[in-house]
Subunit: 262 residues, 3 copies
Amino acid sequence: MDAKSLWNDLQKLRATAPLVHNITNFVVMNNTANALLAIGASPVMAHAPEEVEEMVGIAAALVINIGTLNRDWIAAMALAMAAAKAKGIPIVFDPVGAGATNYRTQTCRELLQRTAPTVIRGNASEIMALIDASIQTRGVDSSATGSAAEAAATSLAREYRCVVVVSGATDLITDGTRKNYVRNGHALMTKVTGLGCTATALVGAFAAINPKALSAASHAMATMGICGELAAAQAAGPASLQMHLIDHLYSLDQEAISRLLR
Amino acid sequence: MDAKSLWNDLQKLRATAPLVHNITNFVVMNNTANALLAIGASPVMAHAPEEVEEMVGIAAALVINIGTLNRDWIAAMALAMAAAKAKGIPIVFDPVGAGATNYRTQTCRELLQRTAPTVIRGNASEIMALIDASIQTRGVDSSATGSAAEAAATSLAREYRCVVVVSGATDLITDGTRKNYVRNGHALMTKVTGLGCTATALVGAFAAINPKALSAASHAMATMGICGELAAAQAAGPASLQMHLIDHLYSLDQEAISRLLR
Amino acid sequence: MDAKSLWNDLQKLRATAPLVHNITNFVVMNNTANALLAIGASPVMAHAPEEVEEMVGIAAALVINIGTLNRDWIAAMALAMAAAKAKGIPIVFDPVGAGATNYRTQTCRELLQRTAPTVIRGNASEIMALIDASIQTRGVDSSATGSAAEAAATSLAREYRCVVVVSGATDLITDGTRKNYVRNGHALMTKVTGLGCTATALVGAFAAINPKALSAASHAMATMGICGELAAAQAAGPASLQMHLIDHLYSLDQEAISRLLR
């Protein structure tokens, strides 16, 4: 990954404003929509079984996030994922809280086995739980380190022939063979709810305009990390970080990317 | 519309704090409630079929927004709209994403035909889709211009004998005969999710204290536009614009209205 | 209550990061999660009947908030409360809008009678409505004063053998015998949606690490009030107050507690 290719993707994203269809959790819907608008995409949230397939039909990417799942929402997710696969648009999957309850772990596995996504993004223990059901996640926060999850990420990427992102102090992005690392970001970001979900949504936005999923996911994670650093430098705490982060997604330019990308 | 009548309405709103009952979408609930509190109203969100009629019974206005609709919520909306009609309080309707899926377009038509609202507020393509099912909305963002929607707005206002608001760079407010235009606002507002929904909720607040719907809706749109301009002048991006906008709804005074109203 | 014991609790909270399981309303989920993260807890939102008992199994406290209740959510709340009781972790209950509709009032009573909570936190009219069904709440905002609710709070605390918090300009915290008063806070906080819900969630966080419920609830209310004052001093309106409040929950230190606790 280099600064030039990230900047090219970002320019394309802003020029084309791809429609990103999200079936996501109640906690982050507002921030997710705002992050997608700020980066240049056009977000839509829709979960009714009567409309998800039609909405996928006009979308350029589908983002699935199980953060506040229940039976009805899972059914809608399955419908939407199948429609996205049939249409050939990228599917990004966020297994929020996999490993915290069997319900979450099993739901993820069933959805993934039914329709393999283009990218899976989670924290270390979520990714590990998708490979090994004995892994315990502490709520929605990771209880494992990124390096411990590296083997799980590789296995998962190979199992579903997809790209896997393990976010953490250093983000790992792998297709099961190649590995990218993003070292951008700031510790205060872990004190803002749903920034992992925002990263997932941004992967959807980049994947909508870049068919190379490893590259798209890496660009999205670097964008999050760089804007997080810029935001943290101005923030007095997690709430002001959240605000500055969205503002920086909107104003991010080539100079900042070149200067900060690690 | 003149600055004096807007200021009078705003003072009345702050003095009486009307209860505004919202059945709205998950993305904007928090911002909608905060905007209503900031402008001086008292918001309540309730969607259980067991309570919506009773909640309407203590409310001064009802706001219906289909942004994240499903079957259960639609049933609650129909119940609440009928109760509001029977009680004689204003009903404000926001057809979020009409034209994006048949489900949204048909749901809007069924709800409107069952109970005509006092005001319908949407962007250009949403308003056009309610008249002509062949109009395609791109997700929840308008794909048509305000001027192109003017004929549709007039037809829609006549069909339901209501006021129709088409928001855009210039807002049109019409009862099918008279037309008001509001030229306030700022382009950055389109990068904040749900500001259209906020406008709809403010229409509910003004309609709660002003029985002349054309005037109430015009005052609400002007309030949004003026506060949006004030906020944009301070904002570094869409998230800080959102924050400043709510703050300005709270502190808006006669001087700013007189100076900025266009 | 003294500054030293509050500071000790806060240090313990930050050191242990207890998992707080929330079944709460759509309006406040994001702010609740952010407030819990900022104060040092680890929040999780989960409402599916298939997983709430398992999630309680890994949680240190359960927070129940009926703000946007419906039948399915009530069933999940009942399951989770029973599981929390069986496990012996604190249950904090927020009767949002009790007294506004019979549905809310009755739902609260049924849930409370089935499983007595550790703490109930509401505004004056909500607390009064739980004792006397003839009390009318105006939406979700209190229509009674704190002092008028003092007798109701005592009765309620004795009925369920729990701690009751009546928030207002002065907060009352009682176990039916002892009474604490917190005089911190700022009037502008009433213009921010869901700060009562945030207070309830903070009670959950403090109760997770302090088994003395009267003390834990008092510490939580004082923390809200102090951070609200610090935030109001910097705020231009309700939205900036919300942001600064979360930032201050994150950075609150012993000096500010000692200086401001009333």
